[in-house]
Symmetry: C2
Subunit: 229 residues, 2 copies
């Protein structure tokens, strides 16, 4: 069985090599920074994890997870996100409070506990931050990201990011009622001027294609790709 520390290293490596972008490798300093330890410390752990066949690592080289290491790391991420969802949905935590506690809960060892939690939460696909929760078999449903401008009429989606960070844009976003991970319905599209009518939390607005181009969304009604990791 892995220690809490070992689990944290595997998770950090997963986040650096798989989730943040598809680099597949991470440097020692980078990993140390992610975990808030000194490079010397991370270096020791890298050797230990290589011994256990959980990572690929060679002196002066970058590191990456083995199949087994990836599996373990994904399990930790799954637990983390299920706990975040539980704290948010059943205990009334706010989305910014859940992470810190989940950081502890993710290391509780009990497969049954996680299965039951998953069931209680009705097998959620996303955590309160909108991040994908891996399934029990280690797969991740990756929803296709696109801009609001590309979304089909009638579909429901949610904002996961913006492309413009200017104050005027963000204030406009706010005025329209858009918030991260809040459902957006695309009601119609005017053939004449291409204005898009959306509904957010009961509030209807019309936005321009230029505005919609800068809102990154994931579509709830679209096909999802299963990323097996």
């Amino acid at each position: 069985m892995l220690s809490t520390t070992e689990e944290n290293y595997l998770k950090a490596l997963l986040q650096l090599t798989f989730e943040q972008e598809d680099k597949a490798e991470a440097g020692t300093n980078e990993l140390a920074a992610q975990l808030g330890v000194k490079p010397a410390t991370a270096n020791d752990m890298l050797k230990k994890l290589r011994e256990k066949q959980l990572i690929h690592y060679e002196k002066y080289g970058k590191s990456s997870l083995t199949a087994e290491g990836k599996k373990r790391a994904v399990e930790v991420v799954r637990k983390h996100r299920l706990w975040e969802t539980f704290l948010y949905e059943h205990l009334g935590f706010t989305w910014d409070e859940v992470h810190e506690v989940a950081e502890q809960l993710e290391h509780i060892q009990s497969p049954k506990l996680i299965d039951r939690l998953d069931q209680l939460l009705n097998y959620p696909s996303f955590d309160p931050h909108g991040d994908v929760i891996p399934t029990a078999s280690g797969e991740m449903k990756i929803p296709a990201k696109k801009t609001l401008n590309e979304e089909q009429v009638g579909h429901q989606c949610k904002m996961v990011g913006v492309k413009d960070n200017s104050a005027t844009f963000l204030q406009y976003v706010d005025k329209v009622g858009l918030r991260m991970n809040q459902p957006i319905k695309v009601l119609s599209r005017q053939p004449y001027d291409e204005l898009i009518e959306i509904e957010v939390n009961g509030l209807k607005s019309s936005v321009s294609p230029r505005f919609a181009e800068n809102i990154v969304i994931v579509c709830n009604d679209c096909e999802i790709r299963m990323k097996s990791i």
Copy 2:
């Protein structure tokens, strides 16, 4: 902040000096046995906990908790039993499965989490084993123990133990449908032969005073004593 290990030592000391019987002191070997470590190990920790003013300890003497130590230990017990209740009532664990997982969960640091869990469970007084859950302020509601024979007609109670351990007695207990911590209603008492009519889980039975004298119960409808620790 206390480490998991320190918390476990305080909890063990509480159990030895307060819960098991009112001895108020425990020896080093006894404590070591309770925790599954060697006396030498416990000895080191006793010195450390004395430094932190959490226990009273003198070389070759018995140990006991200070007020602060007791407070910390009770918090751990509270968390343990709230988690057990959660696992039992919300995740369908059986009463014998909950302890092991609660042993891990009791060390999660988040006052808000425990408050909310308490609220979700509707401020329970007892865990699935029938043990008292300390309140947020560190008090324990101690229900008066008596025998079923002493219980008033009309009251509800639950079995918490037996005085006779013979096979014939236990088989009879089983036949009547009695189980640990299951609600028992005392329906009536025949004036003629003193037979007591009870109802357990919908099943009505009549039992003799001799039988009832050997069933230890706590009364749900009786006054409780607040044990401040």
